[in-house]
């Protein structure tokens, strides 16, 4: 078992509290993603696992062993940085072989190991060339090979795709996932890109200002966000959010956002007992907003098309309803015009409800 456990980690840098009582449990052979905006504490967390930063408080376990006192070189953890340090005067082979050289491995085994890793990463053609001739993606893979060649038990990747072109990012992320499977390695991967996070991660921890907001499988984070932050962070286009109050209208209960409302009669009691307030936030994913050309009897609201974004296979249409702009995801076959009048209908059963003050999900 080479899972990882961080227990109650806190770290300050100057006056800034970077991590606050952060606990994470990463399973053996898992591809675990730490996702959050810049400055959330992702890199600090990785460096604490690697032993490059000493936490002010808390414990780090690799497998069953507490490693707080173990120096980085003895932790058997490999880390690939955002900007990998590669020696420009050495060939690809020499760069990748470097860690083995330090370990004084003999030439035959070194050659075998380097070629094996290069084959898996599909960079055999780079072994004789020097880094100045590499593309960004190739450089990243050589850096990765240099870490993998040591066969570390745990591999940490700090925003490994950040500096790559959008197209290369897409293929490299698949390669990384494939590699993690083939090597059977525990991999921890940080990113600010939620799409990358859900695409590669077995599980994801969404981190914000040093606090882990939610940990779970991609589908779990997408379908059942536990906080407003997680709800906003995961998913693109972002979940629509509007302030609302829970109130009774005749024999129905609605979440009233003044410019529109949705029926939650079935869930009203649960919401009320959990929130203990009527001051709430309503969240609706763009695919759960339906656009109609003519009004239905009830539960739909007039708005105007404010923006149309072409996503290729889909369209994101922004509708202005009163003071609120709502994004709706629609099929490309539907044609909309700027300023056009449309009617918005919500998939009520898919609505998320959050406590307005605490940001915690109540339904």
């Amino acid at each position: 078992m080479v899972g990882l456990r961080l227990v109650d980690i806190s770290k300050k840098a100057g006056k800034r509290q970077i991590l606050k009582n952060t606990s994470v449990e990463i399973l053996d052979k898992e591809l675990f993603v730490i996702a959050g905006p810049p400055g959330a504490g992702k890199t600090t967390l990785l460096k604490i696992i690697a032993g490059l930063i000493v936490p002010d408080k808390g414990e780090v376990y690799i497998g069953d062993q507490m490693v707080n006192a173990v120096p980085p070189s003895d932790r058997d953890v490999g880390m690939v940085f955002e900007v990998p340090p590669i020696y420009p005067n050495r060939t690809g082979f020499e760069n990748i072989a470097f860690p083995l050289e330090i370990k004084k491995m003999n030439a035959d085994s070194t050659k075998e190991r380097v070629e094996e890793v290069a084959g898996l990463l599909q960079i055999t053609h780079l072994l004789d060339r020097k880094p100045t001739t590499y593309s960004g993606g190739e450089l990243q893979r050589v850096a990765l090979a240099r870490v993998l060649v040591r066969k570390p038990r745990v591999l940490l990747l700090d925003e490994p795709l950040k500096n790559l072109d959008a197209k290369i990012r897409e293929t490299t992320r698949v390669e990384l996932k494939r590699l993690q499977r083939e090597f059977g390695i525990t991999m921890v991967f940080s990113t600010h890109d939620q799409l990358e996070a859900t695409a590669v991660g077995d599980r994801i921890a969404v981190i914000n200002e040093g606090i882990i907001e939610q940990t779970g499988a991609p589908e779990e984070l997408y379908n059942s966000p536990k906080t407003v932050f997680a709800a906003r962070f995961i998913g693109s286009p972002t979940m629509n959010l509007a302030e609302c109050v829970l109130k009774q209208m005749g024999d129905r209960w609605v979440l009233d956002a003044s410019d529109f409302n949705i029926d939650v009669t079935m869930r009203a009691q649960a919401i009320e007992s959990k929130a203990m307030t009527s001051e709430l936030l309503l969240g609706v994913r763009p695919e759960d907003i339906i656009l109609l050309n003519s009004p239905e009897n009830s539960g739909c609201f007039e708005g105007r098309v404010e923006l149309i974004q072409n996503f290729g296979d889909e369209r994101v249409v922004t509708i202005r309803v009163g003071k609120v702009s709502l994004n709706s995801l629609t099929v490309k076959e539907r044609v909309f015009k700027y300023g056009q009048k449309v009617y918005v209908k919500f998939k009520e059963e898919k609505a998320h409800v959050f406590h307005r003050k605490t940001g915690i999900a109540v339904a």
Binding site: P37, D165, K167, T198, P218, E219, T238, N310, F311, K332
Partner: protein
């Protein structure tokens, strides 16, 4: 009259031909996007239009006037840089007023102009705030305000969203889209991000190796790629591209690639003469490959799921079909996991066919 006409632009740096022969025009109120990977010549083309680079040959007309011999500040072009270049110690008002002061406009007129512009780019409430205290989207609006206050005939934007984290980029992309509609100035926008191009542009010019491969509306570029390069570059995940050869007999037409075959008898007449004896590349976008657990469509092809990437409302399925990797994109199917056998159906109306040698489309 078009706001910008670029004719046979060419630029050579030493022995490197950065821009080979580029011509296009931008109409009033239109946003044209120059899109391509690093090194395709898009930024050089933009810099030539702005007057920051002298072309080796070719002509640039702004609003009907040949500007080749005019310095940047006389071209009536507003330029917004990647980092926005806001003066940190000047207030928003002074940042916007800067160009007017350089032009020695009377104070009263400056006052009016800045307020008008501030209303347009929605920074009226922060006119006194110093540049260094601005958030990202405020900086974007101030940078655009500072350009448009000079009443340019044309606006140039150089990768304005490229150094911003994914979540903020999504928000600012939508804001930029709304702003463009409001200010209505002809715009040239440079990016390597195909999604940014699709969502913001009216038309896209896809560039490669110093040439425009295809220019057209966003839908044209997405639905009717003229070359293999464009097909591969536009859309995320990329279009599936499968090397194959046509096999015709009296009754049927089949595209074959190793063990993979696709019946295209319905198109045989249209393509027989154009494809006979040629090596072809079959293209199909992931959203046009649909999956089923059972074989309900008699022409469905057996596939094994190799990887699932949950990306929000949809999931990307990496399939193995007769030794080929094919991607499918659709609503998540909880029962479809790695290793599961599924049946894939290609939407025949959405097939692309390219000549492998010329890399150009056949149908």
């Amino acid at each position: 009259m078009p706001k910008l006409v670029v004719k046979n632009l060419r630029k050579v740096f030493g022995t490197f031909e950065a821009v080979k022969d580029v011509s296009f025009q931008v109409e009033e109120k239109e946003t044209l996007c120059l899109l391509g990977p690093s090194g395709c010549g898009k930024t050089t083309a933009l810099r030539i239009i702005a007057g920051l680079e002298v072309p080796t040959s070719g002509e640039v007309f702004v609003d009907g006037v040949l500007v080749n011999d005019l310095p940047p500040q006389k071209r009536q072009i507003g330029l917004v840089f990647q980092d926005y270049a806001i003066f940190p110690h000047l207030s928003v008002f002074e940042n916007i007023a800067y160009g007017l002061r350089v032009r020695k406009m009377p104070e009263a007129q400056i006052e009016t102009k800045v307020h008008e512009t501030a209303a347009l780019v929605d920074v009226k409430s922060i006119l006194d705030v110093p540049g260094k205290k601005l958030g990202l989207s405020e900086m974007q609006r101030v940078a655009i305000g500072r350009s448009i206050v000079l009443d340019p005939k044309l606006l140039l934007l150089d990768e304005p969203l490229s150094n911003i984290d994914a979540k903020a980029r999504e928000r600012m992309r939508a804001e930029l889209g709304k702003l463009q509609k409001e200010i209505g100035i002809a715009t040239v926008y440079v990016t390597h991000d195909q999604l940014e191009a699709m969502t913001l542009a009216d038309r896209i010019a896809v560039m490669r190796n110093g040439l425009i491969e295809q220019i057209g509306t966003t839908s044209e570029i997405y639905d009717r790629a003229r070359t293999l390069f464009v097909a591969n570059f536009i859309g995320s995940p990329s279009m599936n591209l499968i090397d194959c050869e046509p096999v015709y007999d009296e009754e049927r037409a089949i595209l074959k690639s190793g063990g993979f075959s696709l019946d295209i008898t319905e198109f045989a007449e249209r393509i027989r003469d154009k494809t006979k004896g040629k090596e072809l590349v079959l293209g199909i976008r992931p959203e046009n490959v649909s999956l089923d657990i059972k074989k309900t469509d008699p022409r469905a092809i057996e596939a094994e799921v190799q990887l699932v990437e949950p990306v929000g409302a949809k999931s990307i399925y990496h399939l193995k079909i007769s030794g080929l990797t094919v991607l499918a994109k659709g609503y998540p199917m909880p029962e479809v996991n790695v290793g599961v056998k599924v049946w894939a159906t290609f939407n025949k109306d959405k097939l692309h066919l390219f000549d492998k040698k010329s890399e150009e489309t056949i149908v």
